[in-house]
């Protein structure tokens, strides 16, 4: 694996283009760009660079299927939320609310539409027909991976939208939405993990690093999607749930008392300061 070029031109161009649009938008619209936003956007770019660079080189170039699946995980689950968090609302508003685009975004903001679109793109994108074509041809691959990022943005939007004009789902519905997302994940991961043959011709041939057989590699990839994505969504669910609790607790009587005091169950010193 040594000696390979890890930053591919494709990755560099995509990241450069995004950074350019971001900087241009910030300068042109001239709103206040908080430091946290810049940092989050930087993280998004870093994650994108890692995914499209080294992960792509190892996952596709050196034919390690499970790394390729990790790349897809980064593109759908890590990069889009960071991008949404890193972009301030004033930078999005002129685009999203513009006359030609607004009805389109209105439609995308409906959770069912977002869910169905993501499911179709995510499940379809893992069909051997497309995935093999993407492995064989760098341009198709860039297109497929960009499509995954777009699908991820669509999927995360209803629960992360920074625009008050497009309000986020209420917390209980967010939880249900995340629960629904297990369906496309399982629909892709289960057939890959449980298949009796190597599904993708690209990975059936050629030498494999790390001494993995193509079959073991495929199973590892499927398992990563199944358990990795599942655990990730569980963490997302936990985050949403505890935000919800915080919001609801704010409405309970006695919300003004310090939160940490509530954690003390049995105390021997009733007047001890926490």
């Amino acid at each position: 694996m040594t000696g390979a070029v890890y930053i591919t031109p494709g990755a560099a161009i995509v990241v450069a283009a995004l950074v350019f649009v971001y900087a241009w938008g910030a300068r042109r619209l001239g709103g206040k760009l908080a430091r946290e936003r810049k940092i989050l956007f930087g993280w998004a770019m870093g994650a994108l660079l890692v995914a499209l660079g080294p992960m792509d080189v190892i996952g596709v170039g050196q034919r390690l299927f499970f790394v390729h699946m990790m790349e897809h995980f980064m593109l759908t689950m890590v990069v889009p939320p960071l991008l949404i968090l890193g972009t301030p609302d004033w930078m999005l508003r002129p685009w999203v609310l513009s006359r030609p685009l607004r009805p389109f975004f209105n439609l995308l903001n409906k959770p069912l539409v977002a869910f169905l679109l993501f499911t179709a793109l995510f499940v379809g994108g893992h069909d051997p027909l497309f995935l093999d074509a993407a492995c064989h041809n760098g341009l198709v691959r860039i297109a497929l991976h960009l499509m995954f990022i777009v699908a991820g943005l669509v999927m995360w939007w209803p629960i992360m939208s920074p625009l008050p004009e497009f309000p986020r789902l209420a917390y209980p519905y967010q939880i249900f939405y995340v629960f629904l997302l297990l369906i496309p994940m399982t629909a892709v991961a289960a057939p890959i993990t449980l298949a009796h043959a190597v599904l993708y011709t690209w990975y059936a041939h050629g030498p494999h690093p790390l001494g993995l057989t193509p079959m073991e590699d495929q199973v590892a990839g499927g398992l990563f999607m199944w358990i990795g994505n599942g655990l990730f969504l569980m963490c997302v669910f936990s985050g949403i749930f505890f935000r919800w609790i915080q919001q609801e607790d704010g409405n309970l009587p006695g919300a003004g008392t310090p939160r940490r005091a509530q954690l003390r169950v049995v105390t021997t010193q009733p007047h001890a300061r926490v």
Binding site: L116, L129, A170, P172, I175, F179, L182, I183, T186, P191, T193, L194, V219, G222, L223, W226, I227, G230, M234, F237, S238, F241, F242, W244, I245, E248, D249, N251, L252, P253, G254, V265, V266
Partner: protein, 820 residues
């Protein structure tokens, strides 16, 4: 808050008063709950006798008390009865039905007639399961409650018993899904003002999550049973290795239902315990948010663990490892719950009532079952334990030591509210100790026997195996357990006639059901209470949730407000539910005995009852519902929520059919396969269906602006387009038959026809639904104010269209592309 003691209003008669005919056409949730409870208790006696028969047979080696065949029937019916006819009806039909509306401050469930329908369908399904008795070739089902294929195929189990089992479970499934739909909608839309999700009692939370589990877990079972039905009646080969299929498919479908089913039984029990412990410890539930969190997490995980029932089928190391990991993860939320319960009791001022005894017993016994459950999650250990008595010990500790203890505790807890009489505490405590002794004596030694290799489901054992002593010990203990139940029944009966009159709030309760008289009046609340805190009634009595203030509680009960009571419109009783269930019974019977006229008669009764129900508009609070929904449940109309929940359940149904098609499509192609599918024709169908969706949107718009003429035109257009689609499909099917693609030709054709045929049936139902609307429109009963009726039909219609787009893509286009 209520400082002034208020008298209990005596002028409202309790829901139990009224003429006996009223029990047949009742749609009051409390009466339906009592009906459920009584029938479930009768089935409990039956299931208990079956259990004792098993124990008598195993008392000594080489026993001839039961033949092997009789033993198979007894253990099959013991399992089926206890799960479907005892535990689920007691938890959901009886307890949840009675308690949930009272706890959330509602007058009834969301769909009272469907609630009654659930009960009558349940009863006809339960009767159906036992009908084999009356036929010469019948007998009771004998393939185990899990009914593993291909033991259930016609060639291995000829007779009618499995037919009764198969169709009986389908009927019971309808009842359960309707119940789940009802509770889900009730809890989402009908909570009292101020009762946010985080103020709901834990029992309501557990029923909400259970309802979601029911809606999403029953479709795979339904699909599995339909496949079995087709194998047995129409000669398909869904589970036959000869035809290239795999019997393991049944196990996947069954356990994809079966493991969530475990939580469908366990979560309500968890909820009950979470009500009992705080009440008798006089402390709020410890870690309420974490309790809610862990219930949701358990539901999350329960869909990814079904494989741990199938380690021995040879799924391969990868799948085994996956399911082992996910199964072990479930220990985390369950552990959270156990520790929170202990912390709830810790430091409380305890009242040692029988109900509390059972709740404490639950924690201990259930934990033992949980620990042996963790052992099963480990693949190598599980491979040793599979099909041995160790497994029997494990799930009885979960289902009896866990769920049954919770049910028994709840009996003592809620009985005064249901009947207005107290149960005898002395007899109760005697029952508790006999239960603990009998239960542990029966099931704990099974751990040993299982480890020593005693197989389950085998009707006898050899004398030299060294299993005799513990088996005899278990049989004696089982009779002690039977004695405990006998005492319970004595206690229940004497309480009904002789019991001490129960006050409104005998336990110093925390939730709203204790704020009304025991037993409550038919309409529950005179004025819908307003909720300001978790433990709403406790807060009303003592002013704050946490304090252990010793001030005297205000006397329970709503203020007598006759003016308000006069304005309460309760729903009209209806005989349609019982008639419809009867039709279903006739229909199922006609299928088993293959008598077409009976099926037609039953079908006609069902059809007419549904139409009758559609036109018997509920007088029940259009107005009250709207106001309640607006204040409590986020403004969603309950019928809309109900249809959405139904669509969710249907989606899983189609997903299961599509997944089966994907697995089977390329196996054992004897016929022409996908080559004969006609893309041009089906593209036309697709176009027609999409256009019909457009017309549907126009029909809704016309209704919303009150335009009668265009409403009729667009509705008519939608119906016609739907009919064209169906006609196309009929033409397509005949042409496929002409090309040699028959229903039973190969796995591809049977999956294809099942999937597409079921979709066609849904289109047909949609057409009927829209036709009813059309008739209503011509009768001038579809004004602007009823636009929602059109919207709901539209939702269903669009859903059917989306399913078709998926089918068209996956079944037609993709197969054509890959075939070419």
């Amino acid at each position: 808050m209520a400082a002034q003691p208020k008298p209990i209003p005596a002028e409202y008669p309790s829901y139990l008063k009224g003429d006996p005919i009223g029990w047949l056409n009742t749609i009051d949730h409390k009466r339906v709950a009592v009906l459920y409870g009584v029938s479930a208790l009768l089935f409990m006696v039956l299931g208990g006798i079956e259990a004792l028969l098993i124990r008598i047979q195993l008392f000594e080696p080489n026993n001839k008390f039961l033949s092997a065949h009789a033993y198979n029937q007894v253990f099959t019916m013991h399992g089926t009865t206890m799960i479907f006819l005892v535990v689920m009806p007691l938890l959901l039909g009886a307890a949840a039905n009675f308690i949930v509306p009272l706890q959330i401050g509602a007058r009834d469930v969301a769909f009272p007639r469907i609630n009654a329908l659930s009960f009558w369908i349940f009863l006809s399904g339960a009767a159906f399961l036992h009908m084999g008795w009356f036929w010469h070739h019948g007998g009771l089902p004998d393939a185990g409650w899990f009914g593993y294929a291909n033991l259930t195929e016609r060639q291995y189990t000829p007779g009618m018993a499995i037919d009764f089992w198969d169709i009986g479970l389908l009927i019971l499934g309808i009842s359960t899904v309707l119940t789940g739909l009802n509770f889900f909608t009730t809890i989402v839309t009908m909570r009292a003002p101020g009762m946010t999700y985080m103020r709901m009692p834990m029992f309501v939370w557990s029923i909400l999550i259970t309802s979601i589990l029911i809606l999403l877990a029953f479709p795979p079972l339904t699909v599995g049973l339909i496949f079995l039905f087709m194998d047995r009646f129409f000669g398909t080969h869904y589970y036959q290795a000869v035809a290239g299929a795999t019997p393991i498919l049944w196990q996947h479908l069954f356990w994809l239902f079966g493991h969530p089913e475990v939580y469908i039984m366990a979560l309500p029990a968890f909820g009950m315990i979470s009500e009992l412990l705080p009440t008798f410890s006089r402390k709020p539930l410890f870690g309420y948010p974490m309790m809610v969190y862990s219930v949701i997490l358990i539901a999350f995980l329960s869909y990814g663990v079904w494989g741990h029932h199938m380690f021995a089928t040879g799924m391969g190391p990868v799948a085994d490892a996956t399911f082992a990991i996910t199964s072990m993860l479930i220990a985390i939320p369950t552990g959270i719950k156990i520790f929170s319960w202990i912390a709830t009791v810790w430091g409380g001022s305890l009242r040692m009532t029988t109900a509390f005894y059972f709740a404490l017993g639950f924690i201990i016994e259930f934990t033992i079952g949980g620990l042996s459950g963790i052992m099963h999650a480990s693949v190598p250990i599980d491979l040793q334990q599979t099909d041995s008595y160790f497994v029997v010990a494990h799930f009885h500790y979960v289902l009896f030591g866990g769920v049954m203890f919770a049910i028994l505790g709840s009996f003592y807890y809620w009985w005064p509210k249901v009947t207005g009489r107290m149960l005898n505490e002395k007899l109760g405590k005697l029952q508790f100790w006999l239960t603990v002794i009998g239960f542990n004596g029966t099931f704990f030694p099974m751990h040993f026997l299982g480890t020593w290799g005693m197989p389950r489901r085998i009707y006898t054992y050899g004398a030299g195996m060294g299993w005799t002593f513990w088996n005899q010990f278990e049989t004696v203990s089982a009779f002690i357990l039977g004695l405990a139940f006998l005492i319970m029944f004595i206690n229940l009966l004497t309480s009904l006639f002789n019991g001490e009159i129960a006050p409104a709030d005998p336990w110093d309760g925390r939730t709203l059901e204790w704020s009304m008289p025991s037993p409550p009046p038919a309409f529950n609340f005179v004025t819908i209470p307003e909720v300001h805190a978790r433990d709403a009634f406790w807060a009303r009595k003592y002013g704050s949730t946490g304090s252990r203030a010793s001030q005297a509680p205000a006397v329970a009960g709503d203020p007598p407000n006759t003016e308000a009571a006069e304005h309460i419109h309760m729903p009209e009783p209806s005989f349609f539910p019982i008639v419809l269930a009867g039709g279903l019974l006739l229909c199922g019977l006609g299928m088993v005995v293959a008598w077409w006229r009976l099926i037609m008669a039953g079908g006609a009764i069902i059809f007419l009852s549904i139409i009758g129900m559609a036109f018997q508009y509920p007088t029940f609070g259009q107005k009250t519902h709207e106001t309640e929904a607006a204040s409590g449940g986020g403004g969603e109309d309950l019928r809309k929520v109900g249809v959405w929940a139904f669509i969710g359940s249907e989606s899983v149904f189609f997903a299961t059919l599509i997944a089966t098609f994907m697995v089977y499509k390329s196996r054992n192609l004897g016929g022409p396969g996908a080559n004969v599918l006609e893309i041009p024709l089906t593209s036309f169908s697709t176009f027609i269906l999409l256009m019909s969706s457009l017309l549907m949107v126009l029909a809704l718009a016309a209704t919303q602006r009150g335009d009668r003429v265009w409403q009729r035109v667009w509705l008519c257009g939608t119906v016609i387009f739907g009919l064209i689609f169906l006609g196309d499909q009929a033409y397509e099917f005949t042409s496929l038959y002409g090309h040699g693609l028959g229903f039973t030709t190969d796995l591809f054709s049977q999956c294809f026809f099942t999937l597409v045929g079921f979709h066609g049936a849904h289109v047909a139902i949609g057409v009927i639904w829209l036709s009813v609307l059309l008739v209503a429109s011509f009768m001038d009963r579809l004004p602007k104010s009823r636009a929602l009726s059109v919207e709901l039909a539209g939702l269903y219609w669009h859903f059917v269209d989306i399913v078709w787009v998926v089918i068209f893509t996956l079944v037609y286009l993709m197969q054509k592309v890959k075939g070419a």
